[in-house]
Amino acid sequence: MDEHRKVTRRELFGTGAAIAMPAIVPASVIGRPGRQGANDRIRVGVIGTGGMGTHHVAPDTAALCDVDDGHLAEARKRVTQGEPFVTKDFRRVLDREDVDAVIIATPDHWHALMTVMACRAGKHVMSEKPTAKTIAEGRAMVNAARTHNRVVQIHAQGRSNPNAHAACTFVRNGGIGRVRRVDVWHPVNFTTDNWGAEEPIPAGLDWGMWLGPLRRMPYHHQRCHFNFRWLMDSGGGFIRDRGNHALSIVSWLTDNDAYRGVVTCEAKGAPHLSGFFDVPATMDVNWQFRNPDWTLTWSQPGKANPRFPGDWGATYTGDRDDLVVLGGDGGCDTEPKAKEFKAPPGGIEIYRSPGHRENWLECIRTGKRPVMDVEIGHHVITLCILGNIAWRLGRKVTYDFARERFVGDEEADRMIYEPYRAPWSLEG
């Protein structure tokens, strides 16, 4: 595939005369979200159909895109209503007038660029976690969503889980008093005993498009599907993956989404030296928030709370009580005291999502902000990224959420941004 083919404005905005008129006028043509009829079908394309993408392919998916023929063939079998458009080049999906919205389930390094390009092309977006690879990418996603008035939901779906909702209602209504600290525990990162020597690129995989904006590197199966997670450049380890889930719930329960103050972050972790993965094998991160003062920690490995144990989760400690919330993705659970709690009259009502995809589609129809709006996703992933930056630099960093800059650390500021391999660019 020609990665270097220049993307024209015509291609981005999908005005090709050869494209047949759609049977239903799509939201992207009508304009702003909220103008579509409540019963109109929103036609969804899925970009990235392996891994998490397998869960997003519905029987009526309008378009399928993946750089791996194997993924595409499997996804095609799951579409049983109609004939989906199938391509290895996501730009062809964005061209189409008969696609209103896209779900992006590619590896992390594509999330921001595809989201920005999709918004410019008039598509609504639900993008998998992590929100972005860098802080600058997260900001670009928010700006694109607002500039083009698109509904952009991050698929950190814990906020659509009823147990997480119960925990949030409990904590935000004072169930544990004022929150003083939150301690997240999680298993360690994956390791390998392989050194990553170049392998032949499998037939049917477009490695150049898989890499996209990422720095050029030789193909190895552990750099590609799934295991990209254990390289700092492409994955950032569990803290940038499950961390997006876990810290999304933390930010929700502590009412931290709109925090614009300063946070300090320190991280320690043993480097993985017995193979080519370069995320730390273990990781301990500590964030200190100010006004109100509270502490957040991430521990890999961490110690589960024996009162309500689970593979990963968080203990919320307040000045009157504490609460355990397990997971942070679709499998959230929490203690009975939170599940049985009802908000008192006049208490704080928490945004209720009927389901993450349903919430996204509903917001496209109504124009309402989704439960995991891209700006929240940007805020949450910034915390995860700060952990990795502090670990990589080997020093405490101070980050100013209002300025979206580090305080007094010019090198750390350079980690806010990652240059893209040509021809990929976030610029319009």
């Binding site: 270097h4 600058a136 900001r139 050194w195 720095r215 050029r216 043993a270 480097p271 030296l273 017995s274 193979g275 080519f276 370069d278 990589r392 630099l393 080997g394 020093r395 007094g408 650390d409 010019e410 090198e411 350079r414 980690m415 941004y417 240059p419 893209y420 391999r421 040509a422 021809p423 660019s425 976030l426 610029e427």
Partner: protein, 179 residues
Amino acid sequence: MHLNLQALLAQRPTAATLMADIRSGDAALRARAVEQATLVGTSLIVPLGNAAGGTDPAAARAAIEALRRVAHHCARPKAASERKAAVRELVKLTTAASPRHVRVEALYLLGFVGGADATGALGGLLTDASIGEEARLALERIPGPASDRALRRALTASDDSIRRAVEQSLEARAGRRRR
């Protein structure tokens, strides 16, 4: 406290002992060497680069990790002279004498550590068929007009793809300044 400092200084490795540990077949010694690399500093950069280009993958991996730690440590706030020394040493690893993956690593680190003092060397590599793209990525990250000048000089390159990529870097830098 005084005794602790003395004990720490007594344990402080030399470049030679640390490199011997990196090259040893002992995983524990290698891990300790990585942890202690910042105590030795910039004099380790070229030896670590050489080990990273060696045939022992475990030693190469440990050397890369130690190299990253030393480079980032030298770029910490209020360590201007160490940062400059690190740039000088990293630039040595960008020459064709080093294997490509070592040159790539040095260029990546120069993107974080380098200032105007790195842009001449990086600009000279923009048309290098092997690592020109990595030099461009490093220059794109380094703030300041010296990087812009180095990039603009490559706009006269005969290769269209280099010119387009450099234009992309200049646009990205201008976009970041606007924001």
